[in-house]
């Protein structure tokens, strides 16, 4: 009877089956190839930017990595809501994976942006609203991890993390929207309509999406790979890791029960 609880809990975390493993490995290889093609398109096939030179090529990673972070953090919201409703541990695993992968991708985004800004804006960092809100977004999800580690009861931890993961998404939306609503940002808008005065930005190091077909296809391909394949494959691996950890806990409980 005692082991039944632990056992049924372990059952709720399905042992990863062979089909799933094969698909994941296949997707992982596909992702690596996709990223390499994206890099080829961006670093070699696309022409050098006339105004900015080679450093502009950072955009082929900078923009796609934000797309990937956006997708990963969205997964956290979905996981959080689903966990609060169903109380299935797998949804919390998705939410946690989303945060960790999102943080990694957001860090890539921030660093490449900073490297680009050095020659173009003549500084590693300025207190532009976009940069500031991006940094705050990263700190929010760091706070998510701190909140998790501050709670001993696993159920409470999952519950609080789900609530916070839902609220934290507001900073992602702000980062995404801010270059569209803050008139004083000098960060270029790459995707979507621009609500601010565009003439102001031309002097600040603009980035024209429609420059040449080579540039367009490099950014489009990169964004597709980085927003679909990269986050989902990484999240999947991370969830599998969580499943293994969960099974270890279940076995430990089982051993203690005997």
């Amino acid at each position: 009877m005692s082991a039944a609880v632990a056992h049924s809990a372990a059952e709720s975390m399905p042992r990863s089956n062979r089909m799933g493993s094969r698909l994941l490995i296949f997707l992982s290889i596909l992702t690596v190839i996709g990223v390499l093609i994206g890099l080829y398109l961006g670093l070699i096939a696309a022409g050098t930017d006339i105004e900015q030179g080679e450093v502009q090529r950072l955009f082929y990673i900078h923009v796609p990595s934000f797309a990937g972070a956006f997708v990963a953090f969205s997964a956290t919201v979905v996981g959080g809501i689903a966990y609060l409703i169903t109380r299935k541990v797998k949804w919390d695993a998705l939410a946690l994976a989303g945060v960790e992968i999102g943080l990694a991708l957001a860090a890539i985004n921030l660093v490449t942006g900073s490297v680009w800004a050095r020659p173009i804006w003549n500084t590693w960092w300025n207190w532009d609203p976009r940069l500031t809100s991006d940094a705050i977004m990263i700190l929010t999800y760091a706070a998510y991890l701190m909140l998790r580690s501050g709670i001993d009861n696993v159920d409470t931890r999952r519950r609080f993390a789900s609530v916070y993961g839902i609220l934290a998404f507001s900073t992602v939306l702000i980062t995404f929207l801010i270059i569209r609503i803050r008139p004083d940002t000098i960060h270029p808008v790459v995707i979507g309509p621009v609500l601010t005065d565009a003439s102001m930005m031309a002097t600040q190091g603009d980035f024209e999406l429609n420059a040449t077909p080579g540039v367009t296809s490099a950014v489009a391909f990169g964004s597709a790979v980085w927003s679909i394949l990269v986050p989902w494959v990484l999240v999947w691996w991370r969830i599998r890791l969580e499943n293994v950890a969960h099974r270890v806990t279940a076995m430990r409980v089982k051993v203690m029960e005997q």
Binding site: M1, S2, A4, V5, A6, A9, A10, N153, V154, D155, H246, T249, A250, V253, E257
Partner: protein, 239 residues
């Protein structure tokens, strides 16, 4: 007649750690049940679930015909809880505390009723003093007045003797006896086997999340209860 409190297959796990395992537990109206067991045996968890503070992982709980957690508000309205924490606001006076909790329970109280409640626990003259200035024993007595305010069917005591001195414990004994005689059904978690043998009508000893012993306490001495306790838990009482 169906029991006042009834659990079926009640299971609670924190993460994967099971705390209560398929507990079948029933309390009849008018009983005084002492819930015994060492720390971590699941006493507090069971009590938190009975008063709707914690949701079961599996199984059902019925209190007075209402089901938890679906009809939690109805269950809460007929339970009064005294814990080892006072559950009082120490920046308010005794009277203000009682008034506040009465309105939370939607019970209309006037000064007469509050004075009666205070007198009942021997605090008749201290109604307008801040709870902060009360001794531990006085706070615990006020806490009982608070729990009785809405005239609940069931009283739940979670280790109420923690931190009380001799006099405080003796006063609490009297209050518990009174409450039981007044018809309240009482469930009390405690480590004090002698006290349980004197006050309670039945003892339930929990061990590793299951009921180890369920025995009536008519004429059972503290020593006999301690013997049963040792047999079930393998540990001497008081630990």
């Amino acid at each position: 007649m169906t029991p006042l409190i009834e659990t079926k297959g009640l299971t609670k796990a924190f993460g994967l750690m099971p705390v209560l395992r398929k507990l079948e537990f029933a309390v009849e109206r008018g009983e005084f049940v002492a819930l015994l067991g060492h720390n971590g045996s699941g006493k507090s968890t069971l009590m938190r679930m009975l008063c709707g503070l914690s949701k079961p992982t599996a199984g059902t709980i019925r209190v007075g015909g209402w089901e938890l957690p679906k009809e939690a508000d109805a269950v809460r309205a007929q339970i009064g809880v005294v814990s080892h924490k006072t559950l009082l606001y120490d920046t308010l006076t005794a009277r203000e505390n009682l008034r506040f909790f009465a309105s939370l329970y939607n019970t209309t109280v006037n000064d007469v009723k509050i004075n009666a409640a205070l007198t009942r626990v021997g605090l008749g003259k201290r109604g307008d003093d801040l709870v902060r200035g009360f001794s531990r024993g006085m706070q615990q007595r006020l806490s009982i007045a608070r729990a009785l305010l809405h005239e609940p069917d069931v009283l739940i005591f979670d280790e109420p003797y923690t931190g009380l001195d001799q006099d405080g414990s003796a006063a609490l004994d009297e209050l518990l006896k009174d409450a039981h005689q007044a018809g309240h059904t009482i469930l009390m978690a405690t480590h004090d086997l002698d006290r349980a043998a004197v006050l309670a009508t039945r003892a339930v000893i929990l061990s590793r999340g299951v009921i180890g012993v369920d025995m009536p306490l008519d004429g059972v001495t503290g020593a006999a209860l301690a013997e049963a306790y040792r047999r079930v838990t393998g540990v001497a009482a008081g630990g």
